[in-house]
């Protein structure tokens, strides 16, 4: 157990163990990878009912409410115009137009609230502190995600106001005298909520959710297959310091006012590269890929335009089996010059196996964009 001792432990680790979790090391944390249902069962459960994920390993950061202009120097996002009670997806870019991390940015009446990836947490906070005054790393709060078509119905008995929230709302609500920071968002393609709450009440809250027959605990294994089917990028795979947001298919996150011709065009790291790619195209692009056979093609598989050509045109960045689709799925990064309907081949165990390019997501998302 020495290796595990070197890792950080989730505040709800004892509950996960009681629920039958298998743990794996991930980004310096000991994380539940699956419970009794197994990855396939947990994936399907989340698509049909509601899955509870412990994502307390992610970094939570508060900034002063007037830090929006300073934050805009680090992200190509329109933060200044972000309305109160709303959240936006963002990216920390670097000077060469790559990505340091992706994050969520919420505006509350009294602060900005960020959620960053566990693996990048320390670097992100140092990066923020170098450019923004008043950066506060949140401690003592767990982060849970409740995801799936029955998430609202399972959460509403505890927090009735969530029925009035829509996709990407971020609000404070009370439960048992404690303040929950709730956003209607997630990483599965389903409707759902992400809930930051004091560690002291996290177990009681999680048990209250799990007492609902519609809710099952879900591990990192299904989190990955769910996000892949939803076409959602993972930092370190679809995005990296050498892949631009335009190449990663994340150009939609770049605010109109931050683009060429906008009132606050540029002014973020790598703006020259990224704005040029928006105007003139990027060298590579993200591709949704369906292997034609049953064999999953995973990260690092080289992609070719024919069975015998020598030079690969890209690689698979994430791949595996999509339980809802009942077939393998993959995301790739390929040369932008490859036509969108061109058949591709992945080299697996010395054989070239065909893949079809497809639009993303692989499975339709269930976001609740209006409360009507």
């Amino acid at each position: 157990m020495d290796a595990l001792d070197a890792q950080e432990t989730l505040p709800l680790a004892a509950l996960h163990a009681e629920l039958g979790a298998k743990f794996v090391p991930f980004a310096g944390w000991s994380m539940p990878v699956q419970y009794g249902l197994g990855v396939m069962g947990e994936h399907k459960w989340t698509r049909e009912h509601a899955g509870l994920f412990d994502v307390s390993h992610m970094g939570q950061v508060l900034l002063p409410k007037d830090a929006d202009a300073a934050l805009e120097t680090l992200v190509p996002v329109d933060v200044i115009d972000l309305p109160e009670g709303r959240q936006r997806y963002g990216l920390f870019t670097n000077d060469t137009g790559g990505v340091l991390d992706d994050l969520m940015i919420a505006r509350w009446p009294d602060a900005l609230f960020l959620v960053v990836n566990a693996a990048c947490r320390d670097a992100d906070i140092a990066h923020l502190r170098a450019h923004v005054e008043g950066v506060e790393e949140v401690s003592g709060r767990a982060l849970l995600a409740l995801q799936g078509p029955e998430a609202e119905a399972a959460l509403a008995p505890l927090v009735p106001a969530v029925t009035e929230m829509r996709f990407m709302d971020s609000q404070h609500h009370d439960w048992n005298g404690q303040t929950l920071w709730i956003s209607r968002s997630g990483y599965t393609g389903e409707d759902g909520f992400e809930i930051s709450l004091p560690e002291s009440v996290a177990e009681d809250f999680a048990r209250a959710l799990l007492s609902d027959d519609r809710v099952q605990p879900i591990g990192l294994g299904a989190r990955d297959s769910l996000r892949m089917e939803a076409g959602l990028p993972l930092y370190g795979q679809e995005m990296s310091e050498t892949i631009s947001p335009v190449e990663a298919g994340q150009a939609w996150a770049i605010g109109k006012v931050r683009r060429t011709g906008g009132d606050r065009a540029g002014g973020f790291p790598g703006a020259d590269v990224i704005l040029d790619q928006l105007a003139n195209g990027a060298p590579r692009r993200r591709a949704g890929l369906l292997p034609e056979g049953r064999a999953p093609m995973r990260t690092g598989v080289d992609l070719y335009t024919s069975e015998d050509v020598d030079t690969p045109i890209g690689q698979i960045t994430s791949g595996g089996f999509g339980p809802t689709l009942g077939a393998p799925v993959a995301l790739g990064l390929i040369d932008a010059s490859v036509p969108k309907d061109a058949p591709l081949y992945g080299e697996l165990r010395g054989k070239r196996l065909p893949l079809t390019q497809t639009t993303l997501p692989f499975t339709p998302n269930g976001y609740k964009r209006s409360t009507k």
Binding site: Q34, M40, G221, P296
Partner: protein
């Protein structure tokens, strides 16, 4: 029945040995979604990677436990890989291999020794 350190079970009928993976291995793999079997009538050498198993979590393989010839493969696994999780020691055998020297099986673990090996 005999067991290998790679979590295969071996069941002998004369010089024909049926090979599968143990319930312990099937549980560790998680939900199996893809199986690739060796070609019939292939001569294989001990240690050759002759079966590919992909679960939702990862890819792994089964090696030939002994030198021999593949005389039968279980095509049902190709169509229904989940059998590996449902019935690893029954319906989910992978292949049958004809060996020259069945006494070579003696080198493998008994069930009790295998249980010790996996700490049960």
């Amino acid at each position: 029945m005999k067991f290998t350190e790679d979590h295969e079970w071996l069941s002998a009928d004369g010089d024909i040995i049926t090979v599968g993976i143990t319930p312990h291995a099937s549980e560790q793999l998680g939900d199996v979604v893809f199986v690739e079997l060796p070609e019939l009538e292939t001569q294989v050498a001990k240690g050759d990677e002759i079966v590919v198993i992909e679960s939702v979590k990862a890819a792994s393989d089964i090696t030939a436990p002994l030198d021999g010839e593949i005389v039968e493969v279980n095509d049902a696994l190709v169509d229904n890989p989940a059998l590996v999780n449902e019935d690893p020691t029954g319906e989910a055998w992978f292949f049958k291999i004809k060996v020259e020297d069945p006494s070579a099986l003696d080198e493998f673990m008994t069930e009790d020794e295998y249980k010790d090996h996996i700490g049960e």
